[in-house]
Symmetry: C2
Subunit: 425 residues, 2 copies
């Protein structure tokens, strides 16, 4: 594909505008594509990703060589190998196997006057995805948008630009083989940051923005966008160990929720524990975390029970560490725990551990988060784990989509009304 | 209720902030209120509206006396009489009879690892409604928000301030009788326009804004709001008379779609007609409109067939007249009609008249509007006519809610996940 470098702002605005208008046109024909055609494109793209493995690795080598000063975590996300490329291909094949989310009859009824009303799932239109160092987002997001009948405009982070371009080439093969418009998935062909601002202003052409990356990117997108955004700024997730918890279960779930992968948004950041079981429960819960090198920061009551904790400060309760650090607070009971989660959490994912069914139901009902859990690990907050196939991200917003955003959540609806000449009295 | 007049901007910002925070707190307990409690409040409010009829009429008299320079249409909307007050009361009783939209199980499934996942309807939170001269919006919007478990902040137009305050007093009686927090429905106690700007900045406390009023209000709200907005800016609705239409049916539907109430958003503004039947079909379709005093503006082809039409200009195709005016265009067939609707329409409501089922299905599938219709009048675009009970408005946006926005559309969802100690591998 073309690569545009060092363009002035007007030129970038014009280029992005052209891409957005092409996407808008492509979205119309994509919305009418049947499931088989979209799946043909996805399967052909998967084959092309395997066929282009060498080229993708070479492009990724360029990106990795050029990427100086990335954190180890970002550098790891940027790097591709054969296994990760194969995972992209199988990811597209899995998306192909999902049911077609377009055309589903969400509801239908007949009015007394004979009007037949149906609410039908239709694509949203044009979706802009803005992401940082993960080149696999190119195929995941492109594939999910295609499956849901939406045109995609991908804005890869500058550090993954060559890798994303090489993956885009494979997606284009898929579109071509299925006879779908090339503009159904487009990659913004410049690394200039001004392209992001230009996308966020295209509210006549782009219907939805999905940012994927660090807090700074999400904040900028939310601040600047004239277009609705699906995102999560933070994942301040809680595990609440209730007074009637099975402590052995709590120990395993807490360890998994924190340490399985501390850097994902569904990782727990705060442990709340009822005073009634804090002694001797808390040290038993924390032993495996300390052994695994997790840093612990507690309030006074927690530190009184377990001297191994450093003092927590007020900001700890609303901090997403994305690291092997856990804040710990002793609460008086269910009500205080629910208030803490609602006040300090980020409405992402929160779990109660208890054998008390009534307490669990109250927690599930009163905690306001997109995902609330009973007796399981917060790290299940994931579209794949929910059985939705791939996800384009997780939303902590309140409207349209909450929790994992998969192909179904990338559709909206339309009312289709069938009559026999009815007029309104 | 308190009335604040001539406040400075800082004071208004502080007052609105206090109201918004109170609403946020009220929303938490309202979200947990059961259906019976909410219905008790709605029924008691209906009774109080009847009991306060005199006071509401007196307050309305003050508003009407003070309202100079309103258009006849706005003046009519402002004026209350006993029948309109009774309609508000029965409206609240109808809302009480609707099923509780909160707590519905939207989907549920079990994963291979035994996790049980359910998607449950929950309230959105705090909804701000900004409206102009219709005092009945106070009870309609307040009632719908209450039913759906959301706290409402009502900002009545200055010209309806006394009427709305009197209606608000009745709603407060209902909240009190049901033991619900008074802040569940609040009216902004100032007529200062700065209060609107202050509301639109409260994105930490207010989750959704619904503007109801003229184009200028909607444009301002969409432009300024930091909060998601459900609204329709325009209702440029089409009736397309296909070559295989039953002309008698088309004549009746078109007349109703235009003339039943030309000033509502679901009124037709443009007639598209296939060239194949324009002669002699068009004059027959237009006769009743001309007799009723409707002004007609046609493209060249339409004027060639029917000399009674004035020439239409380019801007006519995207103008919402809200009046007895209709633009008329001759098209070559279905594809051109669909393109015209998608390019010039406002994605509100569009209807095809045809006996050809395939043509109808293609129109329903390819027209991108929130409501698409076959063989019926566009004036059915209404929550009541859809059987949804009351509506808070009609949305032409693409996300969350499209078409009539009723109690169901004022909910969002939450995932509730139940496990037995599962951890993620």
């Amino acid at each position: 594909m073309r690569a545009l470098e060092s363009l002035d702002a007007d030129r970038i605005e014009a280029e992005v505008g052209e891409i957005a208008r092409a996407a808008h046109r492509a979205a119309r024909s994509l919305a009418q594509a049947d499931g088989a055609t979209k799946n043909t494109a996805l399967q052909a793209a998967a084959r092309a990703i395997r066929d282009h493995c060498e080229a993708i690795l070479a492009a990724n080598g360029k990106d990795v060589a050029a990427a100086k000063g990335l954190s180890p975590a970002m550098s790891d996300r940027l790097r591709l190998d054969e296994a990760r490329i194969e995972a992209m291909a199988t990811g597209l094949e899995e998306i192909a196997r999902l049911p077609d989310p377009v055309g589903r009859v969400l509801a239908s009824w007949t009015r007394p006057n004979g009007l037949e009303i149906a609410r039908i799932a239709v694509p949203i239109g044009v979706i802009g995805i803005i992401y940082e160092s993960r080149p696999n987002v190119t195929s995941d997001a492109g594939g999910l948008c295609l499956k849901s009948g939406n045109a995609a405009i991908l804005r890869a982070g500058s550090e993954s630009f060559h890798s994303s371009s090489a993956i885009m080439d494979a997606l284009e093969v898929g579109l071509r083989e299925a006879g779908l418009p090339a503009a159904a998935i487009q990659l913004i062909p410049t690394r200039e940051r001004a392209a992001v601002g230009a996308m966020l202003r295209m509210d006549s052409e782009i219907d939805l923005i999905v940012p994927r990356g660090g807090r700074r990117l999400i904040e900028r997108v939310k601040e600047e966008s004239r277009i609705p955004v699906f995102a999560h700024l933070d994942g301040v997730c809680h595990v609440y160990v209730h007074g009637r918890a099975n402590l052995e279960m709590a120990r395993e779930v807490l360890f998994n929720a924190k340490m399985r992968r501390p850097g994902i948004c569904g990782a727990a950041e705060t442990l709340l524990i009822d005073r009634a079981i804090a002694e001797p429960g808390l040290p038993r819960l924390l032993d495996p975390l300390i052994e695994a090198g997790c840093e612990l920061r507690g309030d006074e009551a927690a530190r009184a029970v377990d001297g191994r904790l450093r003092p927590a400060r007020e900001e700890d309760w609303s901090t997403e560490y994305l690291d092997a650090i856990l804040s710990v607070r002793v609460v008086e009971g269910l009500g205080e725990a629910i208030d803490h989660v609602n006040d300090y959490g980020s409405h992402h994912t929160d779990s109660i551990i208890t054998e008390d069914a009534d307490a669990a139901e109250r927690f599930l009902r009163e905690v306001e988060s997109g995902i609330v859990m009973h007796n399981c690990s917060t790290q299940f907050a994931d579209g794949g784990e929910f059985g939705m196939g791939a996800e384009i991200g997780i939303s902590t917003g309140k409207l349209h989509a909450r929790g994992p955003v998969g192909a179904e959540q990338l559709t909206t609806y339309q009312y289709r009304v069938r009559g026999r000449g009815q007029v309104r009295p």
